[in-house]
C-alpha cells in the first residue's frame, strides 16, 4: 500500500482536521461524535439537510457542506456508514426549527444507522424525513437484492435540495423534490482498477491488465460483470444505453449529466468520455442542459468512471443554477 498517510487508523480524523483548516470560512468539524457542519448552522426557519456515509468518496459528502447544499455531513470510517449518534448530533445542530431531511444512500448499513438516528431525533421532538437514493442501474432491483445502490444522483439531490431549502422550501416540499430527483435520475459505473482501503492495506479485488469491471458501486466492491477492456467510445455507449433504457430517457428530454471520476482517472480521460456521451445524447435528441465533469463521488484511488443522467424540468434547472458555496461545488457566489 502506497498512500499519503501517517497511520491507517487515523486517516478519517486527520483528513477532517485538514478539511477544517482549509475551509474554515465555510464549515467546521465537530468531534465526539464526528460531523461536519456549516459555520452558520442552525439557520433559523430553514429546512435542514443532512447526509452522510462512509469516508473515501470525497468530495462527497463532507465536501458538499456549505451554503446552498448540505447543512451537515456525517463521515463514517472509510467505506463504512456513520453511526446513529453522529447523525443525531448533526441533525440537532442544524435544526432551525423547520425539521431536517436525511438524504440516505441505499446501503444496508446506511439505512439502519440513519433509521436508528431518526428514532433518536423523533424522541427529542425533531421532525425528520428520510429519502433513500437508489439510482444505480447496474443492480437488479428485486426482492432478492438489497435494492439498487445510491450513487451519482446523490450529488444532484444534495445540490438541488440544498438550493430548495435555501430558497425557503418547507420540509415536505424538499422531501418531495428529493423523491422527484431520485425518481428521474439513473447512474452506472465501471472500474479499471480496484482500490485499497487504508485499514485493509491491500486492494479489494484484482483486475487483469486487459480487464475492466462493469457495474461497480463506490466501495471497491466487485461489479456486475468482468469483461475485456473496451475502447472509450464503446464502453460509454454501453453504459449510456443501459442508463437510457432504464428510465427511459426519450428524444426531446433535457438532462443534467455527470461524468464522474472514481478518483484515479485523469480529467483528460473524463472529458474524452464526456465527449462520447454528449455525442450519443445529441444523436438521440436529448439535450444536456447542465453538466459536471470531474471527481464528485469517488472510490479512493480507483480508476474508472460513472455516468449519471437526471431528466430535468424547469424547477430542477433553476435550482441547479442557484448559488452554492462548498469545498466541492461552488458557483454564483
Amino acid at each position: 500500500m502506497k498512500k499519503l498517510i501517517n497511520h491507517p487508523q487515523n486517516v478519517p480524523a486527520e483528513f477532517l482536521a485538514g478539511l477544517a483548516l482549509a475551509h474554515a470560512d465555510i464549515l467546521k468539524v465537530c468531534l465526539d461524535p464526528v460531523y461536519v457542519v456549516r459555520v452558520d448552522a442552525p439557520v433559523p426557519g430553514k429546512t435542514g439537510i443532512v447526509s452522510g456515509g462512509g469516508s473515501g468518496h470525497e468530495p462527497m459528502h463532507v465536501g458538499y457542506v456549505g451554503k446552498g447544499m448540505l447543512d451537515a455531513a456525517c463521515p463514517g470510517q472509510v467505506f463504512t456508514s456513520p453511526t446513529p449518534d453522529q447523525i443525531e448530533a448533526a441533525t440537532r445542530a442544524v435544526n432551525g426549527g423547520a425539521g431536517v431531511l436525511h438524504i440516505v444512500k441505499n446501503y444496508t448499513g446506511d439505512i439502519m444507522n440513519f433509521e436508528m438516528a431518526a428514532e433518536l431525533c423523533q424522541e427529542r421532538g425533531i421532525e425528520v424525513r428520510a429519502v433513500v437514493i437508489n439510482d444505480d442501474v447496474a443492480v437488479e432491483d428485486s426482492l432478492y437484492t438489497a435494492g439498487r445502490r445510491g450513487v451519482g444522483v446523490t450529488v444532484f439531490a444534495e445540490k438541488l435540495c440544498g438550493a430548495a431549502a435555501q430558497r425557503g422550501y418547507d420540509l415536505a416540499r424538499v422531501e418531495a423534490l428529493c423523491r422527484k430527483v431520485n425518481g428521474n435520475g439513473r447512474s452506472m459505473g465501471m472500474a479499471l482498477t480496484s482500490c485499497t482501503v487504508p485499514a485493509a492495506g491491500k486492494p479489494t479485488f484484482e483486475l487483469g491488465e486487459d480487464e475492466m469491471e462493469m457495474g461497480i458501486g463506490i466501495h471497491g466492491e466487485p461489479g456486475r460483470e468482468r469483461m475485456p477492456l473496451l475502447p472509450a467510445a464503446e464502453l460509454t455507449a454501453r453504459m449510456a444505453a443501459t442508463i437510457l433504457a432504464d428510465l427511459p430517457f426519450r428524444g426531446g428530454d433535457e438532462v443534467i449529466a455527470m461524468v464522474n471520476g472514481m478518483g484515479g482517472t485523469p480529467l483528460m480521460e473524463l472529458y474524452l468520455v464526456y465527449g462520447e456521451l454528449e455525442r450519443i445524447l445529441r444523436g438521440l435528441r436529448i439535450r444536456v442542459a447542465r453538466r459536471l465533469v470531474g471527481n464528485y463521488i469517488t472510490s479512493l484511488e480507483m480508476a474508472g468512471c460513472s455516468i449519471t443522467l437526471l431528466k430535468a424540468d424547469d424547477e430542477m434547472r433553476a435550482l441547479w443554477d442557484d448559488p452554492v458555496l462548498t469545498p466541492g461545488l461552488q458557483w454564483g457566489i
Partner: protein, 210 residues
C-alpha cells in the same frame, strides 16, 4: 453452572481478543463479497467495548449488555454496528436483574437478541447473513434446554450449529446486504457476518463451560 458478571465480562474480553485475531480473516471474507471492512469493524467495535467497560464498570449483568450495545452502536457503523448493537440492547432488556443467570436466562437472552437482529435487518434464514449462523444456533440451544442439558452442553450445541450454519452460507446466494449486489457471484463464498456470529457463540461456549 450459572453465569455471573465476572463470566460475562470474561466473555467480552475473549471476544475482543477473538475479533482482533480474526480481523484479517473476516476482512478477507468481506472483500470477496462485500467491501473489505467487516473484520476492521468488529475489531474496532470490541476494542471500544473493552475501553467502555474499563472506563465505566457496570454494576450488574444487564448494564454490561447495555454498555456493550452503546459502544457497538457508536463505534462500528456499517451493517454490523446496528445489528450487533441491537442484539445486545435486546439481550439487556431480556436480562433478569439477578447476580447470576441460569441456562434458561441465557437462552432467553440469545433469543431476544437474535429476534432484534431479525427486526432491524429484515432478513430471513437463507439470505446469507449472520442469521444463518444465529438461527440454527438458537434452535439447537432451545432443544438443549428442553432436554435438560447443562449450560455448557447447550452452548456447545449452539456453537456447533452456528459452525454448520456458517459453512452452509458458502452455497447460498445473498439476498440481503452488500453481497446481494453480486447476485449469483456471491455463491461460493462464506458470509463474513455469519462467521463473526459463529465466533461470538464459540467464545461463549469456551468461556462459560466450567
Amino acid at each position: 453452572m450459572a453465569v455471573g458478571k465476572p463470566e460475562v465480562l470474561k466473555w467480552l474480553e475473549v471476544l475482543q481478543q477473538v475479533y482482533a485475531e480474526n480481523r484479517q480473516w473476516l476482512t478477507e471474507l468481506d472483500s470477496a463479497i462485500g467491501d473489505a471492512d467487516h473484520g476492521i469493524n468488529m475489531d474496532r467495535g470490541f476494542t471500544a467495548v473493552k475501553a467502555e467497560l474499563a472506563a465505566h464498570p457496570p454494576s450488574e449483568i444487564r448494564s454490561v449488555f447495555q454498555s456493550v450495545a452503546t459502544a457497538l452502536i457508536r463505534h462500528v457503523g456499517g451493517a454490523a454496528g446496528p445489528l450487533y448493537g441491537t442484539f445486545f440492547l435486546r439481550a439487556a432488556a431480556a436480562c433478569p436483574r439477578k447476580t447470576e443467570i441460569e441456562a434458561a436466562d441465557v437462552v432467553a437472552l440469545f433469543q431476544a437478541g437474535i429476534k432484534g437482529i431479525e427486526q432491524r435487518g429484515k432478513a430471513v434464514g437463507g439470505d446469507k447473513t449472520m442469521l444463518d449462523a444465529l438461527l440454527p444456533a438458537l434452535d439447537a440451544m432451545r432443544k438443549g434446554l428442553e432436554n435438560g442439558c447443562s449450560l455448557a452442553a447447550i452452548l456447545d450445541a449452539g456453537a456447533v450449529a452456528a459452525h454448520a450454519g456458517m459453512l452452509a452460507t458458502v452455497a447460498m446466494q445473498a439476498h440481503k446486504g452488500r453481497a446481494s449486489y453480486m447476485g449469483a457471484r456471491s455463491i461460493g463464498h462464506q458470509d463474513p457476518g455469519a462467521t463473526s456470529s459463529y465466533l461470538l457463540l464459540k467464545a461463549a461456549a469456551d468461556t462459560w463451560r466450567s
